[in-house]
Symmetry: C2
Subunit: 259 residues, 2 copies
């Protein structure tokens, strides 16, 4: 495997709505790409329900196994938003009003009071956090996420999650960025290229060579993606794959197939 010198990431999606199929997750791909760019490759994703015992057990398992854990979802004001208190339970610390978050939210809601927005018990839950939490601000909503240890707790709403991640990113120390390159060959079946491709993979053990057949209205084929932290090795491997494709009668084209 590549990237053995990079810190690793796990994403934990907390949400019955993804497990029921109501919602198509829209956060995993964003986080996968951004984490690769900053050199903290995503190594595992888990999607789990809004069940306290499951959240607590899973958080403790993955925070021990990965350098960083990013959670999305479950930090709103309603009864099914239990991520924050579960993080406190997982770390064995009190769940209590966070002074800065509380002051900020109380002030925000007092300015808009008289209208629909009161700093009620439900909203106060969004200013209640595990002791020691470091806030993750965002430009979209008043309610912050937070970091506790190596666990980064973010909203599930994609535009809020993205704003939180960009606010958090400068605090994360990554390794070398993961770079990738691709070549594809229209009409060439995956089963024909497999033997030669395996030989190339053996010569580049520090890279991941992925083989992805594609099926498009314009025609089928196979795309090969090389991925790793060594940009020169990535380019050299793709050059070898290109030669292999040509030798098998393919007409390789650099990059991913047009979508």
């Amino acid at each position: 495997m590549a990237e053995h010198l990079n810190p690793t990431a796990c994403v934990l999606v907390v949400g019955n709505e993804v497990l029921s199929g109501r919602t198509q997750d829209a956060n995993i791909q964003f986080l996968a790409l951004r984490l690769g760019e900053i050199g903290i490759p995503l190594r595992e994703v888990r999607i789990i329900p809004d069940v306290a015992e499951t959240i607590i057990t899973t958080v403790n398992e993955v925070r021990a196994r990965f350098d960083h854990v990013f959670t999305t979802g479950g930090i709103g004001p309603t009864h099914d938003d239990i991520t924050s208190e579960c993080i406190a339970a997982a770390f064995g610390v009190p769940w209590e009003p966070h002074p800065d978050a509380w002051e900020r939210m109380a002030s925000y809601y007092s300015r808009t009071s008289g209208g629909i927005a009161e700093f009620n018990t439900a909203r106060q839950r969004m200013a209640t956090m595990p002791r020691g939490a470091i806030l993750i601000d965002n430009e979209i909503s008043i309610a912050p996420g937070f970091t506790l240890g190596n666990v980064h707790v973010m909203a599930g709403v994609p535009r809020i999650m993205r704003a939180m991640f960009e606010s958090l990113a400068p605090r994360l120390r990554g390794g070398p960025p993961i770079v990738s390159a691709a070549v594809h060959a229209p009409g060439l079946p995956e089963g024909k290229i497999a033997g030669g491709l395996a030989a190339i993979q053996t010569r580049y053990p520090e890279l991941d060579l992925g083989s992805y057949p594609y099926y498009r209205a314009a025609g089928n084929g196979v795309a090969i993606v090389a991925k790793g932290t060594d940009e020169q090795a990535v380019a050299a491997a793709i050059a070898e794959v290109t030669t292999l494709m040509s030798s098998l009668g393919g007409q390789p084209m650099q990059g991913e197939p047009p979508s």
Copy 2:
């Protein structure tokens, strides 16, 4: 929690391409919806890399914890397709030519021989399976998936995965279908409804009540979804939420908000 009498499902997505962000997963939502319909609610999803040790360990962990495990990806002909041999290792059985799959694929490729398709070593891997595997046919591709114990091994390409799932579904014994209903209120903030909603959840412990704020060009609001196996209870809970929304000055509308 609802559905405690239903068998449970876990989906295992095997694929570096999802973890790198190259590919947006297109299988989880389909499986979540179909599994709910046949009464085998999806309880957890894991997305893991094409690493043998990780696949073997994870398969053994989740097949012990859930009634059914559905894997997608990693059963093609190339060096990065290692799901099938890892399932054999996880179960501690030989990985060997499957007589039916082998005969079918050898026959298919002999008919198309002389062209680009030869039943070579790489393609023979797709007819090699854990001993005891029961084939999962599909109408799209010649290569079958398989079931071993409570683990169902399917392709990653969405249209092939879907065909495999529909071929497999009649063999699965589910519980009562999971039904759901929704109501939404434009302009009503989640933080205002939270208290009353928690009280309704308490009266319907057998249901899951989910609260989902939405942000659309046409306006923001909150959608409440009730989910469970008791259709009457689902309807009654949504009626109570509707009354709650009205009492808070909202104008509730049945169903999900228009997308």
